[in-house]
């Protein structure tokens, strides 16, 4: 419960800090329109890929690509833990 008060308190102080600072200019509507347009194009491309390769295969491809990206840090993290166990004698 103390942790809750601490986090909420910190967020409140941050909120007060933000409330006191002057407001910066908002995002130009052209940029928001560009962002929406880009997301629409990306969504259409994904839908086309799902049609062409099937949703299941695209889901698997996303999983494999994520695995490839995450494999190295996970491997190093696991090896770091294993090296801390003297019985295993991993260098």
């Amino acid at each position: 419960m103390q942790l809750v008060f601490m986090v909420v308190g910190a967020m409140t102080i941050l909120g007060i800090g933000f409330a006191m600072m002057p407001a910066l200019p908002p995002v130009p509507p052209e940029l928001i329109a560009f962002q929406n347009g880009f997301n629409d194009i990306l969504l259409n491309a994904i839908q086309f890929l799902r049609y062409f390769f099937s949703p299941m295969l695209m889901w698997l491809a996303l999983g494999v690509i994520s695995t490839v990206f995450l494999a190295e840090p996970i491997y190093h993290a696991v090896m770091w833990v294993l090296r801390k166990i003297p019985v295993l004698n991993i260098k």
Partner: protein, 335 residues
Amino acid sequence: MWSRIKFLSITLVALGLTTVIFSSPTSAWDGDLPACENVPDYTTALQADPRYNADTISFVVFKRSWSGPFLNGNPGIALTWNAEYDYLKIQISGQSGNVSNVLNSQVDNALIINADGTLTDTGNYNFGVSDVTCITAVHNVVYDSTYTGSTSYPDPLNVDTGTIDAPPSEPCDWWDLVCVAQKIYLSVSSGFTNMLNAFNEFVTNIGEIFVPGADNEDIFTTTFNDLNTTMRAKLGFLTYPFDFIGGIINTLMTLVDSDSKVEWHCGLGGQSQNGVCAGICAPNVLGENSVCLDIAGLEKKFPALWTTIIFIARMVLVIGLIELLRKKYYSIVKA
């Protein structure tokens, strides 16, 4: 020599996976649904509700994970099974052989079980197999004389309040490479899903250590939302890069969020998507008429050519993914 053997093995696995992908356009479900644990006490509210009918509501289906949104955050769904299409009977009998088709169906008169055990009437509702974590019978299930299910499966007449397991899968014949490849594929995908679920549970449990009690979630949510609103108003254009990246991630998540992994088709049969099947259109090119690049028209007009093209494309993709994994594996091991 070894490199040739490895190449041959990879090619065989790729061919097997590709064959599986083509032989099972829908995601076949071949595992046991786990027991319904830690579900809210729904039985009292369900049986006390005037909409509850013991003759028609037989089963309760719970979502795979309650952490994400499921029909406005409700964790469970009570089903009124249509007597004409007794889907679960088909599932238990194993005659369909594909529970995805069964569970991707529309359900009539669905009652949603809320987290506090109350009920909400939603009328019709579509849901997919990936939504389901378990099925629980709320009373004895009586099957009529037309039931022709597998005799190797425990007698479904004995199903009482509890979990209904899937029928045991038949072992593959030694010569049936498609069956073996399908088993391998299902094992890998099941293991991957279980790994993700375990990781999700781990993160949830870690979160619960630091955020004890469900009431505190509201406090955090309200405070965070207030801070987020204030921060956005003050930081203005500085938040744009984060919104841009967030938008891209949200769009990419459509690959994961979709319940149904059923293959799409623009020809006869299958599940069609209007956005894809209509083609890419440029409006008002010829007067007020649009000009469309109808890529999906190939499937309708030249189905044999279409089948060949997607076979090659999918095989190339699968081989590419396996090669990607192989290269990553050796780059890590040799490093």
